[in-house]
């Protein structure tokens, strides 16, 4: 190693300050190789494995979350659809019920009206009958009264049959006048 090494080699068993030593290079290369493979095996491999596992786990949970979200969306849409359908149905039912109630009430009202009309008619008929009966009674009474009055007036006995006929004619004429 030239000028540099000579003095130091002689001094003691130290290598020179700036030296190239075969043994050191050899051992250093071996040590470096050991260190590289040791680090690869003890540090990089386990840590990278763990990182890869974590990445996989994160990916998986992300995928799962997306899936769950999609499912939730689907369920939500389904529920919304069902809700709309139910609303429609209820509205339909309500409408139907309203219509039926309307019909029913119309029916009832019509029936009531009809009944009322019938009652009225009946009443009217009864009234008419009463009137007629009263009129005939009145007629009989009036005729008797007239006969009596006539007897008194005429003072003579007329044939009661002629009498009745005369009176009837009179009443009829009166009735026609009314």
């Amino acid at each position: 190693m030239g000028i540099i090494s000579a003095s130091v080699w002689a001094a003691d068993l130290n290598l020179p300050f700036l030296s190239i030593d075969t043994g050191t290079i050899l051992f250093t290369l071996i040590n470096l190789a050991i260190l590289v493979f040791g680090l690869k095996h003890f540090l990089f491999k386990p840590v990278n494995d763990i990182l890869a596992q974590r990445q996989t786990a994160v990916d998986k949970s992300l995928t799962e979350a997306e899936q769950a979200k999609a499912e939730a969306e689907a369920t939500k849409a389904e529920y919304a659809e069902k809700l709309t359908a139910a609303k429609e149905e209820s509205a339909e039912m309500l409408r139907k019920a309203t219509r039926r109630a309307q019909e029913r009430s119309d029916e009832i009202v019509a029936a009531a009206k009809a009944e009322a009309a019938a009652v009225m008619q009946q009443n009217e008929a009864e009234l008419e009958r009463e009137k007629r009966r009263a009129a005939s009674e009145l007629r009989a009474e009036v005729s008797g009264l007239a006969v009596m009055v006539a007897e008194k007036v005429v003072e003579r006995e007329i044939n009661p049959a002629d009498h009745a006929r005369l009176i009837d004619e009179f009443i009829d004429s009166v009735g026609d006048v009314q």
Binding site: I3, I4, S7, V8, P16, F17, L18
Partner: protein
């Protein structure tokens, strides 16, 4: 100590001092580089990591001439290779 050895020692010491003149170059160069790096970081603070890294590598390369001078100076002073 005979005269020859004394002259060699004196020459080594002077040589070491002269060798350290090599420190001027890296000093100026690195100062310039760091100044430019500061400007770059001021202009683009988000790139400070890359700028700093590049600056250090550049400084290291620039510094090697100074280091060679230092090695020569150390050899001359402590190992006295010519005695």
């Amino acid at each position: 100590m005979d005269m020859g050895e004394a002259i060699i020692l004196a020459g080594s010491a002077i040589g070491a001092g002269l060798a350290m003149i090599a420190g001027i170059g890296p000093g100026i160069g690195e100062g310039y580089a760091v100044g430019k790096a500061c400007e770059a970081i001021a202009r683009q603070p988000e790139a400070s990591g890359a700028v700093t890294r590049t600056m250090f590598v550049g400084c290291a390369v620039a510094e090697s001439t100074g280091i060679y001078g230092l090695i020569i100076a150390l050899l001359l002073i402590f190992l006295k290779p010519f005695t």
